[in-house]
């Protein structure tokens, strides 16, 4: 089947087998291997991407279901050579060890902050509970999301002029 899908802002057209899962389409057809696969039961969330802005597990979505829609993967987070505040925070807070869950965690966190820009620790733990990390024990992931939320909040207040960009007392 022919599908048209926009991935990280770029339009693609491809002919896919109807049974092709979105995760395999991204990884093998588009060579966007940042989206990982860790289980077969929609448990681990390593394959989390955004479909029209909503976090989905791409191992449980068919590529044909993405036809005419927009997908964002971990490769789409960095803009103009600038890491997204979530990426920077994961680095600064040591929120990854092996890195295999990281793309899915980042995308689930991104979706969470879109819905709830300043989540509490409990809300973060609930929001990321569909994503498994076997290495970190989650504490630093929670810290990273909190830190990114603070940064994003300052950035958005700066954008609407609420905070003096050169001020010393920001945040």
């Amino acid at each position: 089947m022919k599908i048209r899908v926009k991935v990280n802002g770029k339009p693609y057209e491809a002919d896919v087998e109807p049974r092709t899962l979105l995760a395999y389409f991204l990884r093998e057809t588009l060579k966007l291997t940042g989206t990982h696969i860790g289980c077969d039961t929609t448990t681990c969330g390593a394959c989390t991407v955004l479909l029209d802005g909503k976090a989905v597990k791409s191992c449980t979505i068919l590529a044909v279901q993405a036809d005419g829609r927009e997908v964002m993967t971990v490769e789409g987070l960095e803009k103009d050579g600038q890491l997204h505040p979530l990426q920077a925070a994961f680095w600064e807070e040591h929120a990854l060890h092996c890195g295999y869950c990281t793309p899915g965690m980042l995308m689930a966190s991104y979706a969470l902050l879109q819905e709830n820009p300043m989540p509490t620790e409990e809300e973060i733990r609930f929001g990321l509970s569909g994503n498994v990390c076997r290495c970190t024990g989650y504490m630093n992931i929670v810290k990273a999301v909190q830190s990114a939320a603070r940064k994003l909040s300052v950035e958005s207040r700066e954008a609407v002029g609420e905070v003096a960009t050169s001020g010393t007392a920001a945040d």
């Binding site: 087998e17 049974r19 092709t20 395999y24 990884r27 093998e28 060579k31 966007l32 291997t33 940042g34 989206t35 990982h36 696969i37 860790g38 289980c39 077969d40 039961t41 448990t43 681990c44 390593a46 993967t73 971990v74 490769e75 987070l77 960095e78 050579g81 600038q82 890491l83 990426q87 994961f90 680095w91 600064e92 040591h94 990854l96 060890h97 092996c98 890195g99 295999y100 869950c101 990281t102 793309p103 980042l106 973060i124 733990r125 609930f126 990321l128 509970s129 569909g130 994503n131 498994v132 990390c133 076997r134 290495c135 970190t136 024990g137 989650y138 504490m139 630093n140 992931i141 929670v142």
Partner: protein
């Protein structure tokens, strides 16, 4: 973009990880990310039966299926003498079954096709005629005379594999005969699986033009894999390049060689194109090597005032169908004889019997230095029961029996020489930080109100960092490790090591060691691991051995470079070598601090201005054979509350005070502790792989094999004391496994402490709510 990290003297600092910039961008390169031209895909057909004779395999329909390029059975491999392969424990294991299968999900046949989906379709067209045989799941029943003999291929016609013992039987029994108090307890350590987020997999790429086999594999021990492949296949070792790219977690799961690897290699050799095999989660849990599965009985002889005198341990070890422990050759039960722990017993005797059953092979050391977790859990659990019987506080009993700091180096009754420790100091810090006295008061008040609160202690000692080579080998290869450092003319460094990290941060910590030793900045050093064509030979990363062995090799290799640099510095400073001093940043002339040259000056001179009689260049290699193991330890305290209505245990607080010697990067050490505690928590409360009487695996996926999420996982509190290892070049000991080794006992002790009013002394892990609920109901608690 990279954050600027021009840190000089980086040792002991929380340097941000050098591996992260690629991983946070989704630009890591894990084995499934390797996409090669003309690559084919392999899928494996597995047995639905735990024990069955194979009467016939018909592959004709699969061969005719769309996209199929090759179908392989055990018979095909037998023609190449590859139907069986050696395990790391000196046994053999079937690659693809020939005459019978010995566990459910065992490898039976394989299909190679153009796409993974086609291969998966085709394996379902293979017809296998099985004749079911009686199944043996329970290792005790496996020893009964009427039990069917599972391994008909072996000379020994018994399900008993080996008997192993340590310590002094007679001395121990003499003490038991006289002892006023004997406490005995059966303790089970259930079958679990490391289950890293990235399953196992490989790409075998045989190049018909060059005759070279490049084997990409998610491996913790790439050099061992290269040698094992050469031994198994007869393929010349210098024509095999093993590349272990980014590894998505290992925890022991990625030490062994699995049948899928051998099949992928055979397929690539036959077809002359790359062949990829990536297992599913079910294949990972149900066929790659499990961990633990020990049935342990411990007895402690003690005096009435709480002096523990002797320890006696008897254990049945379920090894499944093939003995495939990743243990050093001389230690079929690994380092289990560390079971005397942190306590000064006069005598100890430990015996273990390995048994075959119709279950997957193993067991690997899951975030553990070879059966140390089993040992630690056992002693810490039973010491608590001794305290209970003597009506003593578990802290008091521990303090009374600790090996005292002046006793180090301490020879244990099972023969280990502990390097260093101050157990009392570490426990006292933990008690103070958690507020032990106040917690006991709170508990007394709650008990008076009928509430269930428990405090659990674990004061464990680990044994990590194998070698030394005189005692430790795998497949005959001595357990050393290695580093090679090349200093380029501009003073930039590439270092390669024989280990292979899976998230431990070696690219950062080993760069810290080398930069510190060479007086360079952290950004001047790149660390590379995982490519057997470039890295020096090493035994790999497991058993918390990387820092004790390869970390030592990195430091000593850098010092070897510094020795040569000193000669070149003397030439540049125009003085005698004896007059050159190194201050950590530069070489200067003794008594003339103004005249100095840096390592960068020396590096340039090594290629441009070398004095006569000195070899040009600035490179070194070091193979480090450790003189002893290292003995990290810790004091962990768990505080739990139990819901009487549901039996659910809530871990309210958990404090881990670790002593892993000198710390290279405190951020990474803390991260390792968080991760290890989470796996210890999972084992205590969630993870278990049960089998039914027919040998069906009841938890072959992550819906039934429960791995903790962010909602399940408690908040961790950490602290540390520092008691350097006296024999390690930088005084480090290793830490990655301590929290997983030490924590299960703290959790379980806390639950049993909460249930103390009911006289319950032990519950086997995992402590599911229903187990607690049942006990509460039995004691009339119905709230």
């Amino acid at each position: 973009m990279a954050l600027p990290q021009t840190e000089m003297r980086p040792m002991g600092k929380p340097i941000l990880r050098k591996e992260d910039p690629r991983l946070i961008r989704g630009k890591g390169r894990y084995v499934d990310d390797i996409l090669l031209p003309n690559m084919l895909h392999l899928c494996i057909l597995r047995s639905p039966y735990a024990h069955a004779r194979i009467r016939r395999i018909d592959t004709s329909k699969a061969e005719a299926a769309p996209g199929v390029k090759l179908v392989l059975t055990g018979e095909d491999l037998a023609k190449m003498n590859l139907a069986w392969m050696p395990t790391l424990a000196g046994d053999v294991q079937m690659v693809l079954a020939t005459d019978k299968v010995l566990f459910q999900y065992q490898e039976v046949a394989a299909v190679v096709a153009e796409t993974r989906a086609q291969a998966e379709d085709a394996i379902q067209l293979i017809e296998v005629d099985y004749e079911p045989l009686p199944v043996v799941v329970d290792p005790f029943k496996a020893l009964e005379p009427e039990a069917p003999i599972l391994r008909e291929d072996k000379e020994k016609k018994s399900n008993h594999i080996w008997h192993w013992e340590a310590g002094d039987r007679e001395e121990t029994e003499a003490i038991f005969r006289e002892a006023p108090i004997v406490v005995k307890q059966d303790v089970r350590f259930q079958r679990v699986h490391p289950s890293p987020l990235e399953p196992c997999g490989c790409v075998a790429d045989y190049n018909t033009a060059t005759g070279k086999l490049v084997f990409y594999v998610t491996s913790q021990a790439p050099h061992v894999h290269r040698t094992a492949i050469a031994l198994t296949t007869g393929f010349p070792e210098h024509m095999i390049q093993v590349i272990s790219p980014d590894v998505g977690g290992g925890f022991g799961n990625k030490v062994p060689v699995y049948p899928g690897y051998v099949v992928a290699i055979v397929a690539s050799l036959k077809l002359g194109v790359p062949v990829k095999w990536i297992e599913t989660r079910t294949e990972n849990i149900a066929s790659t090597h499990f961990a633990r599965d020990y049935y342990m009985t411990a007895e402690i002889a003690a005096t009435e005032d709480g002096k523990m005198l002797a320890l006696r341990v008897k254990t049945i070890a379920d090894h499944g169908a093939f003995d495939a422990t990743a243990n050093p050759t001389k230690y079929p039960a690994g380092l289990y004889s560390i079971v005397t722990g942190s306590y000064d017993f006069k005598a100890a005797f430990v015996e273990v019997d390995g048994i075959h059953t119709n279950k997957p092979p193993g067991g690997v050391a899951y975030r553990c230095s070879f059966r140390v977790t089993e040992a630690s859990y056992l002693i810490e659990r039973v010491v608590d029961i001794v305290a209970r019987r003597l009506n003593m506080d578990p802290v008091e009993l521990r303090l009374r029996n600790f090996i005292r700091k002046e006793q180090f180096p301490y020879r244990s009754p099972t023969g280990w020489v502990y390097d260093s420790g101050d157990y009392e100091k570490t426990l006292k810090l933990a008690l103070e930080r958690i507020g032990y006295e106040e917690l006991r008061k709170e508990q007394a008040e709650k008990r008076a109100r009928g509430e269930l609160m428990g405090i659990g202690i674990s004061t464990f000692t680990e044994i990590v960092g194998a070698g030394p080579s005189h005692s430790f080998d795998i497949l005959g290869i001595k357990m050393f490790d290695s580093a090679e450092i090349r200093v380029h003319p501009m003073g930039k460094v590439i270092a390669r090591l024989g280990v292979r990290h899976q998230g431990q941060g070696h690219e950062t910590t080993f760069a810290q060691i080398i930069a510190e030793e060479l007086g360079l900045s952290i950004d001047d050093v790149v660390v590379e691991e995982g490519d057997t064509d470039t890295a020096p030979y090493g035994l790999g990363t497991y058993a918390s051995r990387s820092t004790p062995t390869a970390g030592a090799a990195a430091a000593l290799c850098a010092r070897r470079i510094r020795d040569k640099a000193r000669k070149i510095a003397a030439h540049l400073l125009e003085v005698n070598e004896d007059d050159v001093v190194w201050d950590g940043a530069a070489f200067s002339v003794k008594g003339l601090p103004g005249r100095s040259v840096t390592m960068k000056d020396v590096a340039f001179a090594a290629y441009t201005n070398v004095p006569d009689g000195i070899e040009p260049g600035l490179e070194a290699t070091y193979y480090y054979n450790p003189p002893n193991l290292t003995f990290p330890y810790g004091a962990y305290i768990a505080v739990v509350d139990i819901d009487k209505g549901t039996g659910a245990v809530k871990v309210r607080r958990f404090l881990a005070v670790d002593d892993c010697g000198n710390v290279i990067n405190p951020m990474i050490v803390e991260g390792q502790v968080h991760g290890g505690l989470t796996e210890g928590f999972a084992i205590a409360f969630m993870q278990d792989i049960p089998y039914d009487a027919d040998g069906n695996c009841l938890a072959p996926n992550w819906m039934d094999y429960l791995v903790p999420t962010s909602l399940d996982t408690p908040r961790w509190e950490t602290d540390r004391t520092v008691t350097p290892s006296p024999h390690h070049p930088i005084g480090a000991k290793g830490v990655g496994e301590s929290p997983n080794v030490g924590s299960p006992a703290a959790f379980v002790n806390a639950v049993l402490d909460a249930l103390a009013p009911f006289g319950v002394e032990h519950i086997d892990m995992p402590i599911y709510p229903w187990k607690v609920w049942k006990i509460l109901r039995e004691h009339g608690i119905t709230e």
